[in-house]
């Protein structure tokens, strides 16, 4: 293909496109280590539940009927899907690492967990972007956080959380979501500092991304064009 290179003027201008700052090596390395350590929690036994989670969950009203309702709906939806569509086992190949190992959990719960983690990841990504840009103090994200928090609690009580790694992730996620749900406009920046510290310390966002399928572009299939 006979291609003419860019003019020197355009090439100079192109070099200024999204000019990277210095690499924040140490900061990223610490987060990578934190995420890898969190991902390598001992497989046996249930991780100890942080006191704040225990308190939050104790405050919650009885939710067994709702839990049962959602479980029934998921089971029904899945059953209908099996009846009405041709057999398709692609879900098994795409199941995220954190969820795939859940033992004894039904397929429906695993699918619901994947969906929930994906939504939480998207929400937290946007939330953090809004905080960094100076927004997020007015508590407008709280309703979405409350919705996700409710689902998160259902997931914690469901068979999907039989996997200790997933359970730990859901517990850390609960802390972050609870913080966002309770943001008060009056003390917004203080709340946000605590929440963003929680996010960084527990590397929740990174762990969510590692747990959720990458939508067809996994490293094993690096083709992206």
């Amino acid at each position: 293909m006979d291609d003419e290179p860019l003019s020197p003027e355009l090439r100079d201008a192109a070099e200024a496109y999204h000019l990277p700052p210095d690499t924040p090596r140490e900061e990223m390395w610490q987060r990578i280590q934190a995420a890898r350590q969190a991902g390598a929690q001992p497989g046996g036994g249930e991780a100890p539940m942080p006191p704040q989670v225990r308190t939050l969950r104790a405050r919650q009203p009885a939710r067994l009927p709702l839990w049962l309702g959602i479980a029934a709906a998921l089971a029904l939806a899945f059953g209908l899907g099996r009846v009405s569509s041709r057999p398709d086992t692609r879900w098994a190949a795409d199941a995220p690492r954190a969820v795939a190992g859940a033992s004894g959990g039904s397929v429906a719960f695993r699918v619901a967990a994947v969906e929930h983690l994906g939504q939480a990841e998207s929400f937290l990504t946007l939330f953090r972007a809004s905080v960094r840009s100076g927004a997020g103090r007015d508590g407008l994200a709280a309703p979405t956080a409350r919705q996700l928090l409710a689902t998160n609690r259902l997931m914690l009580d469901s068979p999907a959380s039989a996997d200790p790694q997933l359970r730990l992730l859901l517990q850390d996620l609960e802390l972050v979501l609870a913080g966002i749900a309770q943001i008060s406009p009056a003390r917004g920046s203080e709340d946000l500092d605590i929440i963003t510290n929680d996010l960084d310390r527990s590397a929740v966002l990174l762990r969510l991304r590692a747990a959720v399928p990458a939508g067809g572009g996994s490293p094993a299939r690096p083709g992206v064009l």
Partner: protein, 179 residues
């Protein structure tokens, strides 16, 4: 230390080797991901995720390409998937009114347009495949062979996409060139 020795030591659980691998590749990965994302936070996130995945999958690395190319392919995949997700969310206008625009935007200026600004906007407007190849080749200096391996395409495809990307940029900046 060559790649093979380094990988063997990482797989054996040597933390010094893990850090050495990270140090050897992080600058290149961060630069490329930042060029694609245009945002420090997201570039950091994608770089971190790329290394987490690379460490997790290191045992699967067969050495068909250079280690740097393999890590780069993971990073590009992570970044493009992340950017697609952000784009989808923006299009859906999720009920999160607090969020500022999260994709990099450059203000379009009709009066006295600055070349860098106009070019940046034109690059942002390129289709994803063209933009990725353009950024990798013309901005970051990757060869077509490296791009092909990183993106899982033939080097000829990379050349064709670069050709089309440049053509689109020239068209987009045609009025600027006439001034």
């Amino acid at each position: 230390m060559d790649d093979r020795t380094l990988i063997a030591r990482v797989l054996a659980g040597d933390p010094t080797a893990e850090r050495a691998l990270y140090d050897a590749h992080v600058d290149r990965v961060f630069r490329l991901v930042y060029r694609l994302a245009g945002d420090r936070d997201r570039a950091q996130d994608y770089t971190q995720e790329a290394f987490i995945r690379a460490f997790a999958k290191l045992a699967e690395f067969r050495g068909e390409a250079a280690l740097s190319t393999w890590i780069c392919s993971i990073a590009v995949s992570v970044a493009l998937n992340g950017l697609r997700k952000v784009k989808r969310l923006r299009n859906r206008e999720v009920e999160l009114d607090v969020v500022e625009p999260v994709l990099p935007t450059v203000t379009r200026s009709t009066a006295d347009p600055d070349l860098k600004q106009r070019l940046a906007q034109a690059i942002d407007d390129l289709p994803e495949g063209y933009r990725t190849v353009f950024v990798m080749h013309d901005v970051e200096g990757y060869t077509h062979e490296e791009i092909g391996r990183a993106l899982g395409v033939q080097s000829g495809t990379s050349k064709a996409q670069l050709f089309r990307a440049r053509a689109k940029l020239r068209t987009a900046l045609a009025d600027f060139a006439r001034d």
